[in-house]
């Protein structure tokens, strides 16, 4: 069954190779297979209960247009949660990034070139996101306050800052539609495949590589598993956690830009509706609330389940009022399911 570990092996081979075994594969990837099973089962249920909706290609185009707005943020949130932290301030970071965006656009009118102005404005939004994220991380790490408390506070603070700076006003962003950033961020390839889906895939791949093939991700897992061990073994746990919060800050600001571009309009409440669905994607995807385990692929699938549920509740004939109830139920049930599976696996 496991020939490389028998003690009679005379010479140790140079390379450690695992012979493929379905059982071992299933064990090692139980969480991801679990979420894939949930994904396929729900999909089947949706198709059976609303075939007209779920067998047409339009619904999938619509999913790929709307789901990336929160799914993009669920990727770095997964990294934060694996490090046994949480960030609830990302919806406000989305909006604050857009405030920096419009401020930069409005003050660079002397350049006289909308494309350069919008490019600078996007950059300003990302930098703002990075700064707010780092500040979250700094407060959490240096003062030793739980991230749940800190980010509830900063969530209100930055939402408040948005309202003060904009005086609660919403405004149009029609000027962006003339720049190449518009099709680059929210265009449609071949009139069907939305660019925001491409960006979601890009962020997912970057997140996966960072988490699984980079020292940063290795340290994230170790910090979430046992922060004391990580410190004793010389990992700079403060810096790594601040970087994780900075990452979700940048990506949230980016998601804010993409979501605003999609409607070419800015609402000061931007991001408010994404808190629950982003969190639900991460927990449904099998990332442990206790830290130390979780996968990017799980979150990616989780986001699509969450996104499909809203459409499905309506298509099945329930009113939109049901979606929040179902989201809440899913968060609680998925956390229970994954905790149970993990305890059994040990």
């Amino acid at each position: 069954m496991n020939p490389q570990t028998t003690e009679s092996t005379p010479a140790v081979p140079q390379h450690y190779k695992i012979e493929f075994s379905l059982k071992r594969f299933a064990r090692a990837n139980s969480a991801q297979l679990g979420i894939l099973g949930v994904f396929l089962t729900l999909w089947l249920i949706f198709i059976i209960s609303a075939p007209n909706t779920f067998l047409s290609s339009q619904i999938y185009s619509a999913f790929m247009a709307s789901i990336p707005f929160f799914a993009i943020m669920a990727i770095p949130l997964t990294i934060v949660v694996i490090a046994a932290e949480i960030d609830l301030s990302f919806p406000s970071i989305m909006a604050m990034g857009m405030v920096a965006f419009s401020f930069t656009y409005n003050t660079t009118g002397f350049i006289g070139n909308a494309t350069i102005q919008v490019g600078l404005a996007i950059l300003a939004a990302l930098v703002t996101g990075a700064l707010i994220g780092s500040l979250n991380g700094f407060i959490i790490v240096k003062f030793g306050i739980p991230s749940l408390v800190v980010t509830i506070g900063t969530q209100f603070f930055w939402r408040g800052a948005v309202l003060v700076l904009t005086q609660g006003a919403n405004f149009t962003l029609t000027y962006i539609t003339d720049t190449f950033f518009y099709p680059l961020l929210v265009g449609k390839i071949g009139g069907y495949f939305p660019m925001q889906m491409v960006w979601l895939i890009v962020v997912t791949i970057i997140g996966w590589v960072l988490l699984n093939r980079h020292r940063f991700g290795a340290h994230i897992y170790l910090i979430g598993d046992n922060v004391k061990s990580a410190e004793l073994m010389g990992i700079n746990t403060s810096r790594t956690r601040i970087q994780a919060f900075m990452l979700i800050g940048i990506i949230s600001a980016f998601a804010g830009v993409v979501a605003s571009f999609y409607v070419a309009y800015f609402w000061p409440s931007l991001g408010d509706g994404y808190l629950l669905s982003t969190l639900a994607s991460v927990f449904l995807g099998g990332t442990s609330v206790f830290g130390g385990t979780g996968t990017i692929l799980g979150t990616f699938l989780g986001a699509f389940i969450i996104g499909a549920i809203e459409a499905a509740t309506v298509a099945i004939g329930l009113t939109g009022f049901w979606t929040q109830l179902i989201y809440g139920l899913i968060i609680v049930l998925s956390v229970m399911m994954h905790t149970y599976l993990r305890k059994r696996g040990e």
Binding site: M1, N2, Q4, T5, T6, E7, T9, V12, P13, Q14, H15, Y16, I18, A28, R213, H214, R215, F216, A218, Y221, L222, D225, N226, K228, S229, A230, E231, L232, M233, G234, I235, G292, T293, E346
Partner: protein, 252 residues
């Protein structure tokens, strides 16, 4: 003059109002095994954590091979060849064996990308050659949390030795081990001596310490209460002195 591998001069450490260590003078010779004895809360673990760079002393000086070292940190201590098997083992139990072996110093290129295959290969080699793991449940990709106490300790020890340790520190390494595993551990500490390295060995069990140490340092209430060469003192005599120290705080 003989150069010590490690020397602490007048090292004190306080946490807020609590004075944990007071003017500690401690020497570790080349190729010497020093046993550290003392009651719970005597300051053994704090002393160890100063040597490993985890705590910074409030005052005092630290010398490695006669060179004064300022601002000792965990990575710096490791560069100087200090490797530690912690009382709490410092493992990440939800993670795989190879991640634990390379905890905190993953093999990666200049951009920080991991060389996972090499880490797995090295882990596999160590597992077979040094840890003597024969259980089917153990592979580089198995989770450390599923191992027995002895296997976990094996991981912590092999990890300390793999990276060219000059000074191996063992903090209560026999805790939670079976008799057979303990015997193996004692042999292992003797192996450190034969390999020409130095070690600091901390244990509650006087017999284990007496068995392997060249010299025993007794710590009590944050101070060095006394030290003996094991060749000059019998184990019973040492035990009596320990009881005396625990009761009165001094050797005399």
């Amino acid at each position: 003059m003989e150069e010590y591998r490690l020397e602490l001069r007048n090292v004190s450490k306080s946490f807020g109002e609590v004075q944990s260590l007071e003017n500690i003078n401690f020497k570790l010779g080349q190729n010497e095994i020093v046993g550290l004895l003392g009651d719970n809360g005597a300051g053994k673990s704090t002393l160890i954590k100063i040597i490993t760079g985890y705590h910074q002393p409030t005052s005092g000086e630290i010398f490695f091979n006669g060179q004064k070292v300022e601002h000792l940190s965990v990575p710096k201590a490791r560069e100087l060849g200090v490797e530690t098997v912690y009382q709490e083992r410092a493992l990440a139990e939800l993670q795989t064996l190879w991640r634990n072996i390379f905890l905190g110093r993953e093999i990666c290129n200049s951009l920080g990308f991991l060389d996972i295959q090499q880490m797995r290969d090295e882990t596999y080699r160590l597992m077979n050659q040094s840890m003597g793991f024969t259980s089917h449940a153990v592979s580089p990709d198995s989770r450390v949390g599923t191992y027995s106490g002895g296997e976990k300790q094996g991981v912590a020890i092999v990890r300390a030795l793999f990276f060219n340790a000059e000074i191996v520190i063992l903090d209560e390494p026999t805790m939670g081990l079976s008799l057979k595993e303990t015997a193996k551990l004692v042999n292992f500490v003797k192996g450190i001596k034969q390999a020409g390295k130095s070690a600091i060995f901390i244990d509650h069990n006087i017999f284990h310490v007496y068995n392997v140490a060249d010299r025993v340092v007794v710590i009590d209430r944050g101070k060095v209460a006394g030290e003996f060469l094991t060749k000059n003192i019998g184990v019973n005599e040492l035990m009596e002195k320990m009881v005396h120290v625990a009761e009165t705080g001094s050797l005399d």
